[in-house]
């Protein structure tokens, strides 16, 4: 792909399908919503709605995915009849056994449920940092917030995760 060329959605699906689905799944916490999110992201890519800046393609994709996700969360919040993707009552995972926690291990399903219990803005920052591996400045650009806000969301998000899975 030449620099500056917007990748086609077929390219994205073929070469980055697993990455895209992983980010979508970590953000939404379930398969149905993850599939919807992936489709919406590819639609945005296909329509050329997202400005492509040559650089990390996965950084670009995760920015689109995260913003599409947050748009959807806000949309559902305005229409309370739709179930919210973040619902702490439903999302609270079972507490981990103490020895398991001490060993530093946590089951992926439990971590995923704990992620889902975080406010969407915190979850987005944590996923971009710890799943995608973006530096703080890129996360700030992606979410259009100051770096200080990113720093705070990541730290609080992690502290909440630890509490939920304590």
């Amino acid at each position: 792909m030449p620099d500056g060329t917007v990748p086609s959605w077929e390219e994205v699906a073929r070469d980055h399908g697993r990455f895209l689905y992983t980010v979508a799944f970590r953000l939404t916490g379930n398969d149905d919503d993850a599939q919807d999110l992936v489709q919406e992201v590819l639609l945005r890519v296909r329509k050329g709605l997202e400005t492509y800046r040559p650089g990390s393609l996965e950084g670009w994709l995760s920015r689109i995915t995260t913003n599409t996700f947050l748009d959807e969360v806000r949309r559902r919040r305005r229409r309370p009849t739709d179930p919210l993707p973040e619902n702490p009552d439903r999302a609270l995972p079972p507490s981990m056994a103490a020895d398991e926690a001490l060993a530093g291990g946590a089951l992926p399903d439990d971590v995923q449920s704990a992620l889902r219990a975080l406010p969407a803005d915190y979850r987005a920052a944590v996923v971009l940092c710890d799943v995608v591996g973006l530096p703080y400045q890129e996360i700030a650009d992606a979410l259009d917030v100051p770096v200080g806000t990113v720093r705070s969301r990541i730290h609080r998000g992690r502290a909440m995760l630890r509490q939920v899975l304590a």
């Binding site: 992983t22 398969d31 710890d130 799943v131 200080g148 990541i154």
Partner: protein
């Protein structure tokens, strides 16, 4: 950040930033120095460090089989889609028929006799040694 009794400040968010390598070396030194004397912050550091490891250890997730292929479908030319659907439907009907209808037991005796005759005829021409073992005109031994 919150003022501590000794006048310093708890690093708070900087603890995660330290783990992520997002602090300047001066900031990092200040946080490290604070940690030495502050048990609460050491606990907090431990907590966010564990949570960070949990999320980083999450495995990649494979997209459900066919997710991307299904997205291709709406952009496929219509006629081809219809043809594909018909082939699929025909295959499904055939599969049902095969599974429902028992294979008919065709009466084989006459055709076996015919085959032997045909073989004997061709073998007699080709000089096939098998002819000696199975001479023509023996359908009785098979036919009972």
């Amino acid at each position: 950040m919150t003022a501590t009794p000794t006048g310093g400040e708890h690093p708070g968010d900087d603890l995660s930033a330290l783990l992520d390598g997002e602090l300047s070396s001066a900031e990092e030194a200040a946080v490290q120095a604070h940690l030495v004397g502050c048990l609460a912050c050491r606990h907090e550091m431990e907590a966010v460090s564990v949570a960070r490891q949990w999320v980083r250890a999450l495995p990649p997730v494979d997209a459900p089989f066919g997710l991307y292929e299904r997205m291709l479908v709406p952009y496929r030319p219509r006629r081809r889609r219809l043809a594909m659907a018909m082939v699929g439907a025909a295959a499904a009907v055939a599969a049902v028929l095969v599974s429902v209808a028992p294979a008919p037991q065709a009466p084989v005796d006459p055709s076996v006799a015919t085959l032997i005759e045909a073989h004997a005829t061709s073998a007699s021409v080709d000089g096939d040694p098998v002819t000696n073992l199975a001479p023509a005109g023996v359908p009785v031994s098979i036919h009972r």
